[in-house]
Amino acid sequence: MKNQVQAQLDRETLSALMDGHLQGAEAGKALRMMDSAEARECWQVYHLVGDVLRSSDLAACGRDSAFVSRLSARLAQETGPVAVVPATRPRDTRDVARPAANDGVFRWKMVAGLASFAAVAAIGWGVMGGIGPQPGMGAQLAQGPSGAPTQVVTLMAAPQATLATASEPAAAVMLRDARLDELLAAHRQTAGASALGNAAGFLRNATFEGPGR
């Protein structure tokens, strides 16, 4: 009776553990639970189910548990230099858990980070000719770095546009300010629903928060 209740609990916690939904003490408890052979078998089966759902080619993996028990047995036998084992083992497990792909992701993030920075530098302000009542006010045009995209500049090709050299050069390139960000965010919330169906617009907006956010 008690066993059954226990087993019931096991499966749910185990499933949550698998999905990475447990944190802190809950995760610790779940991991301790994994000591039982039954829990490990369940773990195995759940993963197999997941694999098969993703691809039927993965169904033919029946030797996993044998491999794991052989590995544990061998590990238990290891009596080698104590100092070496802890030094190498964590490293090995990490390598196994995180293949080289991880490396790529990190580099990707670096590149994306740089790109975001470049974009921040490229966002500038200019004056559209004829707009607004005071032409003298804020007649500043972003002068991005030489490699910066020319979007802003081409728009400035309007005849009346005055390429005022900024009185304060530091302010010429304006980083996005928080107030404009708020408006952009508000716009995105409402715009998400209309561009090319709900999903596409939402995905674009949720992904493209823009640099600096």
Binding site: R54, P99, A118, I131, Q151, A191, A193, L196, R204
Partner: protein, 356 residues
């Protein structure tokens, strides 16, 4: 990360199977064309010997919108702008009946996860331990689809041209260009997955055909196991977070004292909200749409020390333009934001005025 690797690997057999399906479909299409020769000769469809007849703009709009009903998928979504900014996110999507759910885990920039359940959006910012909640008001799953039949005449302002086939994230896709019929809006080049219609890639194009911004799946797994329950549970677990709610109140431009003396062709007023920006001030947002592109007008009282620069800002396809509007009772600061050419924002800013 390991999930991305795994799904990337096992995505391949799936796409191969899909490729076979597509091949079978093409062959059957070929047979159909052979059987209906007079139809094929009609209109001199020289460069389109294989495949179905061109869909009209209306058919495309419906197809693209219905595609968000795909039961489920998992993928990596990348958005990049002409200026070089690039963002990516891991996406989980599931649609059960009338309920659409999504989880978007940002892979670039500030860590954040965004969940959507139909119109409700919850954004978790784990670094600042803040959750932003926004309860949308547009009911139903496809409000836009209905709008297209009624308020919007999207089909009057864009033309659809099928320009060929391509492959995105391992899936064969039809490429269609939604070409604006005037200069008030941008064009879109869209890759739509052949079988489901799912939008797998989009490009926003300016008048000269330059790509301003593009978004695409770099990797996609259709019909992946995604559990709506799990997403709902994750969306609701705000423990340990400070919850902030988007306090926007529905209002009308009339009540706020605004009107548009001259609109922009095709753009219909959609909704109007008032939202607080600080404890003392609030901003009125008036939203316009032509069915594809959206423009927001933000009106707030002018403050000399904060509102010092009129002008234009660009972020991907999103343009922002600001103008000070004079009024006897105190000036106003109006900001137009939209995925439209600057000229359109300018027209909006010149058209907006205080009601006498």
């Amino acid at each position: 990360m390991s999930t991305a690797v795994v799904s990337g690997m096992d995505g391949r057999p799936g796409s191969r199977r899909l490729g076979l399906v597509a091949l079978g479909w093409c062959v059957s299409g070929l047979l159909a064309v052979a059987g209906a020769q007079p139809a094929a000769q009609f209109g001199g469809a020289v460069d389109r010997s294989v495949g179905p007849p061109q869909r009209s703009i209306a058919e495309w709009l419906v197809r693209l919108q219905q595609a968000s009903r795909v039961p489920s998928y998992v993928g990596t979504f990348v958005v990049s702008s002409a200026a070089g900014a690039m963002s990516s996110a891991r996406i989980w999507h599931v649609c059960e009946g009338d309920v659409q759910m999504e989880r978007v885990e940002a892979l670039t920039g500030v860590p954040r996860s965004t969940f959507r359940r139909n119109e409700s959006v919850v954004t978790f910012l784990p670094e600042s331990r803040v959750v932003r909640m926004d309860q949308g008001e547009t009911g139903g799953v496809f409000p836009n689809l209905l709008n297209n039949g009624q308020g919007f005449k999207t089909a009057d302002y864009y033309a659809a041209n099928e320009v060929g086939q391509g492959r995105v994230a391992g899936f064969d896709a039809d490429i269609v260009v939604l070409q604006p019929r005037d200069d008030w809006r941008f064009g879109y080049r869209i890759w739509s997955e052949k079988r489901t219609g799912l939008v797998v890639k989009t490009q926003t194009l300016d008048a000269s055909g330059h790509v301003l911004e593009q978004a695409a799946f770099s990797e996609l797994q259709l019909n992946a196991p995604v559990q709506a329950d799990k997403l709902r549970q994750m969306m609701g677990s705000t423990e340990g977070y400070r919850v902030t709610k988007a306090e926007r109140v529905r209002t009308t431009p009339e009540a706020e004292g605004w009107r548009l003396k001259a609109g922009v062709p095709g753009f219909q007023p959609q909704s109007c909200y008032r939202r607080p920006v600080s404890p003392v001030t609030s901003v009125v947002q008036w939203v316009f749409s032509d069915g594809l592109a959206t423009v927001s007008l933000f009106m707030q009282p002018f403050e000399r020390e904060r509102h010092d620069r009129e002008g234009l800002a660009v972020l991907g396809a999103t343009h922002t333009m600001t103008r000070r509007v004079a009024d006897r009772g105190g000036d106003w600061w109006v900001t137009a934001v939209g995925e439209v050419p600057p000229a359109t924002l300018k027209a909006f800013l010149q058209g907006i005025e205080r009601r006498p």
